[in-house]
């Protein structure tokens, strides 16, 4: 029996398995990783599925090497990914920066568990959100998505690959232990219904091609190793040829483009799901598994007659600050629900610039936020008692 690339149909699978199937449906054919709870099932599924499809699975010696390997595979012309959790994500940071500097499409899925350090290996947190934004050194922009269910693990992994291929950078899937280990219905569509985007190829001759010369949308077409174009890949600041250029002007030019290719395309990248936002007084903002507790709390608040609404962040980076600035003008309060000491709430506060109160509902990890806790905050906010 020939293995299928796309397992069209209805399944009952966990988020990690759905992530693997989403990656394969997106065209991923190379996985390098090191197993770690609660992301192990992604690697395990990949180790079973990739050889069936003629792809390559490598268990590396550590996460530093894993990240390096997927960058290399991507330059070889293959869509690639790795998966990990907190401790491994820390090790990947330097090479995520290499991927950003060299504009290498790939996907990293972090199934978050509670830290710092080894922390709670089998229990949830959402404590790596700022690490996702700023964990590698230097100044850059990043794209990160946050799934709330196994179905979204499938759907968003496809989107993560499409974004990475479009904008040429490592795209981060910021999942969490509960979503990764939760089994639910996952509907996998027909192959021809799945939108797949692949990196833009050079449209000029080999003589004219400059590997880091962008088109009008700030994105440079990418030739793979072996395509016959002259390329040079380095983490040093480089010019349009890819050659090291050790001066402030080259730095300014290169980083401006790395930043602008995301900033100038924010509207195409940012995705939120807005519920009950028409007549809203109290806005709950959340992402990942916490968004489900938030949705339950908002529905319960509505049934109590409180005009609550939810903005669920599907992309967490870039942060939709314009959206919140516009919402803050008419809201009594914004509430951020997240499983950390307060990370995305800082962005929320920065975005609303004091236009309305911002309240954090959180814990430090180990358990998901109870809808009742969020409902309490909504009730207080509706009464103006935050």
């Amino acid at each position: 029996m020939v293995a299928k690339e796309v397992l069209t149909g209805m399944h009952f699978m966990n988020g990690d398995e759905a992530c693997c199937e989403g990656a394969l449906a997106a065209g991923c054919r190379f996985f390098a990783g090191y197993p770690i709870t609660p992301a192990t099932e992604i690697a395990e599924s990949m180790s079973r599925r990739l050889p069936q499809l003629g792809g390559i699975y490598i268990q590396m010696e550590d996460e530093i090497a894993s990240m390096a390997a997927i960058l290399g595979a991507s330059w070889g012309g293959v869509k690639s990914m790795t998966s990990t959790s907190g401790p491994g994500f820390s090790l990947m940071m330097e090479n995520i920066g290499l991927g950003i500097c060299t504009e290498t499409p790939c996907v990293v899925c972090n199934v978050q568990r509670a830290g710092p350090s080894t922390g709670l290996p089998t229990l949830i947190a959402q404590g790596d959100m700022m690490q996702a934004r700023w964990g590698s050194h230097g100044h850059y922009e990043i794209i990160a998505l946050s799934p709330s269910s196994p179905q979204e693990m499938f759907d968003m992994t496809i989107r993560a690959f499409n974004l990475s291929e479009t904008y040429r950078l490592p795209v981060l899937m910021m999942a969490d232990e509960v979503v990764g280990h939760m089994n639910e219905r996952v509907v996998i569509p027909y192959e021809d219904e799945i939108e797949i985007i692949s990196r833009r190829k050079p449209s000029v001759s080999r003589e004219e091609y400059l590997p880091y010369k962008a088109d009008d949308d700030w994105i440079a077409p990418m030739a793979n190793c072996g395509d016959g174009y002259r390329i040079h890949v380095t983490g040093l600041t480089h010019d349009e040829r890819g050659y090291p250029a050790m001066n402030a002007e080259a730095q300014e030019r290169m980083v401006t483009r790395l930043v602008n290719k995301i900033r100038k395309n924010r509207d195409k990248i940012i995705a939120t799901k807005n519920l009950y936002m028409d007549d809203v007084e109290v806005v709950v903002v959340s992402y990942g598994i916490s968004a489900r507790s938030a949705m339950k709390a908002v529905r319960d608040a509505r049934s109590e007659g409180i005009r609550a609404g939810l903005i669920k962040l599907e992309t967490v980076w870039p942060f939709p600050e314009e959206l919140f600035r516009s919402v803050a003008g008419s809201a009594k309060a914004l509430i951020m629900a997240e499983i950390n000491g307060g990370q995305m709430v800082l962005e929320l506060e920065r975005s609303v610039r004091g236009a309305c109160p911002v309240k954090l509902v959180s814990n430090f990890g180990g358990a998901i936020i109870h809808p009742r806790t969020i409902l309490d905050a909504i009730s207080k906010a509706a009464k103006g008692k935050l």
Partner: protein, 196 residues
């Protein structure tokens, strides 16, 4: 409070007993063959085997938002530790099901709807104690029909290695027949083990 339309189950034991697989099969049966919504989450420690372990299953006609089972209406215990840890969470009107040989209950538990089966022993007699979880699922399907038995059978077939399908279906049917005969009062269950 959990949504009234939701059925909340907690299956508990130790790592290696197939506790998570049992929850997976139940959720799969509900989702794929009974066309309901189901969410299964799992709890376990850093140990691979032997540590306390549970799977939480919510079955509903509607989308499940909050996936935690805090006060199960059905509690299955397959180890003493699981019993000690989880019995306090069972709703007062809940159903308490346990493995006769592996759990010493208290007399005070008898205000629950109580049912027990020597699932591990039965699985051993069928040739493999690893099928105790499937015997238990068969028993559960007779006691509390939250999911159709035929749906669970199909999900068992999907979930176990090909060479063990027949044996697992036999294990399921054995547990189900034992459960049916108890609910119909055809046989008196063997005495459970109490401590007080």
């Amino acid at each position: 409070m959990p949504d009234k339309r939701e059925r909340h189950l907690l299956i508990s034991g130790f790592g290696g007993q197939g506790i998570v697989l049992a929850g997976d099969i139940l959720g799969k049966a509900a989702t794929l063959y009974d066309h309901k919504h189901a969410t299964m989450t799992q709890n376990y420690g850093p140990e691979a085997r032997g540590g306390a372990c549970s799977s939480q299953v919510i079955i509903s006609g509607e989308e499940v938002l909050f996936p935690c089972v805090e006060e199960p209406e059905i509690l299955v215990c397959m180890s003493q530790e699981a019993y000690t840890k989880n019995i306090k969470s069972l709703r007062p009107d809940g159903t308490f099901i346990w493995d006769t040989d592996l759990v010493h209950t208290r007399k005070t538990d008898m205000h629950f709807k109580t049912f027990h089966i020597p699932a591990t022993r039965m699985a051993e007699e069928l040739g493999n104690k690893m099928m105790a979880n499937i015997v238990m699922l068969g028993f559960l399907s007779a006691i509390e029909p939250v999911v159709h038995a035929e749906a669970i059978r199909k999900a068992v077939m999907d979930s176990v290695p090909a060479s063990t399908k027949d044996n697992n279906i036999r294990a399921f049917n054995t547990g189900r027949e034992y459960g049916t005969s108890i609910t119909k009062g055809l046989v008196k269950p063997e005495p459970g083990k109490h401590q007080d």
